[in-house]
Symmetry: C2
Subunit: 401 residues, 2 copies
């Protein structure tokens, strides 16, 4: 007899029919003799509808009141799901974040889980209740409701699995696992049986959007075995764990990230400390800098280019213009029409051919590479936004057949 944590997203509980579908997945697991804790998001568009209501009244509403408002969404979905499970004849109880013991810090709308007081959870499990927990929410030290920000329900599920030392944390979604690329865009995309936390993190960060990276980070930290599965059909999904079994595929995935902008500073005086000055100013304002490229200087000048999230591009340019005394020659350019294409795979650092194979794919497709960045398990290139989808297919087909 084990303990399984299951997580269901908003589309999985969007209407009565889907709620019963989820109720059956949960009770099937319970029928195997397992204890089940299910973490649920708000129904379908509930959160967006609530945000629209708030916008109409006060676009600058405090985050404290936004959290109060938005957390009602999961309150509705957990009680409806519990009612469906009651209807199927099983013992069940729904718990809000604070009832399930989620204690967070005080950063409203983007809170971090500090701990889970598990007394009530264990108490309900001990009574053989199926426990339905509201994802995305907790309580801070002032007894105010907090929410965890984007992907919060995944994080809630992993945190409960860690706190209860569950045997597995199953993330149910509308796809049946993690693919080597977006299957809607890349016809040859293949489902992975297993993937490591680190590989998943790179894919999540790069916009694969199956699992939020905070939840994967937490799973890695507490060594919680994850499984990404379909809530629509009962087929094996993708297991995410510390060590994945070796597969023939060198590359676990190709990801596209269009949320980036490129800033180029040309003809910067080539003096010591200039890079430090630039990036410390940006760090002070919490601008996330990703790929950095610096030209070899000549004539006492050099060029520096880097990428930032698209939403921070204009701000970054302003900061640089305001805070640095460049000479008249220096220019700062912002290009928002760029995309980052990455290949991810834990084995690649021992296979020197990966980078060249990737560049070959780009060359064959006549796609210009603006910047290159490599890590132990990832190679990324920055290209023109209009070439992004073509590039993913080209790179994917080069590595995965």
């Amino acid at each position: 007899m084990g303990l399984i944590v299951q997580k269901f997203g908003g589309t999985s509980v969007a209407n009565a029919e889907r709620i019963f579908n989820v109720a059956r997945i949960i009770t099937d697991e319970y029928n195997k003799g397992n204890n089940v804790v299910a973490v649920v998001s708000a129904q379908g568009d509930t959160t967006d509808d609530l945000i629209a209501k708030a916008q109409e009244i006060n676009p600058d509403a405090s985050k404290r009141e936004m959290d109060m408002l938005l957390s009602s969404g999961e309150q509705i979905s957990i009680s409806l799901l519990a009612m469906a499970i009651e209807k199927l004849g099983y013992p069940v109880i729904s718990l809000l974040g604070w009832q399930a013991g989620f204690v967070t810090d005080s950063t409203h709308s983007n809170a971090r889980i500090k701990r889970i007081d598990t007394d009530r959870l264990f108490n309900e499990i001990g009574k053989k209740n199926i426990v339905i927990v509201a994802g995305f929410q907790g309580l801070n030290r002032y007894d105010d409701i907090s929410t965890l920000g984007r992907g919060g329900s995944d994080t809630s599920a992993v945190a409960i699995a860690a706190a209860l030392k569950a045997d597995c944390c199953q993330i149910f979604t509308d796809v049946d696992g993690v693919y080597t690329a977006d299957p809607r865009k890349v016809p040859n995309a293949k489902k992975l049986d297993e993937i490591t936390f680190d590989e998943m993190l790179e894919l999540a960060t790069l916009g694969a959007q199956v699992l939020h990276n905070r939840s994967v980070e937490m799973a890695k930290k507490y060594n919680v075995d994850l499984e990404v599965r379909s809530s629509l059909e009962n087929v094996p999904g993708t297991k995410v764990k510390e060590v994945a079994k070796l597969e023939k595929m060198l590359i676990k995935g190709v990801a596209k990230d269009t949320d980036c902008a490129r800033i180029a500073i040309t003809k910067v005086p080539d003096t010591p400390g200039i890079a430090f000055k630039i990036f410390s100013k940006l760090a002070q304002k919490k601008i996330n800098v990703d790929i950095i490229l610096q030209s070899i200087g000549h004539d006492g000048k050099k060029d520096i280019a880097f990428t930032v999230p698209k939403s921070q591009g204009k701000l970054a340019v302003e900061i640089l213009k305001d805070s640095l005394n460049f000479n008249d020659e220096t220019e700062i350019k912002l290009d928002e029409n760029v995309a980052k294409i990455s290949v991810v795979g834990a084995g690649m650092e021992t296979h020197p051919g990966v980078a060249s194979k990737m560049f070959e794919a780009m060359f064959e497709s006549n796609i210009n590479i603006q910047m290159i960045s490599t890590s132990e398990i990832k190679i990324s290139v920055l290209i023109d936004l209009k070439d992004a989808d073509r590039a993913v297919v080209a790179v994917h087909d080069k590595f995965i057949k």
Copy 2:
């Protein structure tokens, strides 16, 4: 500087425009230098929509999960109202029932308030925050959310006013006070400046629907001055208090109650204890019996008739048939097409003419009286349902000009 508790119902916060209207009423009071605690119901049809969602999934859902579901309604309205008050530039905080300290018994869907732990309320008031409290809800000893049942937000407001020793509890509604009869049905209906708790209780119980009787009972018990006012126009309402000033009007109101059914048991053996047997059986099953009429017996037989709430009529008949051994002659009849018309006024016990004046009004309108019941401040008659609206006008015009 005083402390005012204000209560706003669901129609008062049904959309953004009305929410800002309420926000202005609250901040106007705050601008006078008063502390304000506002108790709010769920928006417009929210509760009905949530009930419909639950019905679709499980018509027999547990009351515990229904309370979890329904209490989300006030969570939405309090946060939206707080955002509107933020927009107007005032310090404000919204609190759920449990955050405001409402401790209830464990009767889900119809819980009673046991106490209010006022620490947080006083703390927020001390910070000069306007406090917006979710009505209708509390927390039981198991840390589960409970709801107070019909009219619960009125009760929440009165309970807070009592616990905080507020100077006044203002109940805002879509009418501008308590009338001598339903103004939509009786053109001559007059607004009362003042009314006593006892008179209000009789009117509330009799279906005047301005204030729920539990809230009036609580106001009487803790001597909380109430005022029923309009949320739509700023005019004086009706004050409800222990002693009302003497008015020229003998009668404070005429009420119609159509939620009643009449049960007649004919030719019952005229033996001692028969009435006891009948009504103790009904009491055991929690049937609320109202007017009772017993004929003078002859030939060793008598007739007994009484009224019960319409929803309990069929059940009451079954209980009597199952549990009492009547002889073959005895018949039990149920009539659901009846209405109770009552005149209410604290002064009437010293004015012997009231009853005859009422009967005269019925006679003049050619309406047959089936049963009569009198108390110190009330005279009620049971009549045919189809005559009810005519009867109210006739009686009202007889007493109030």
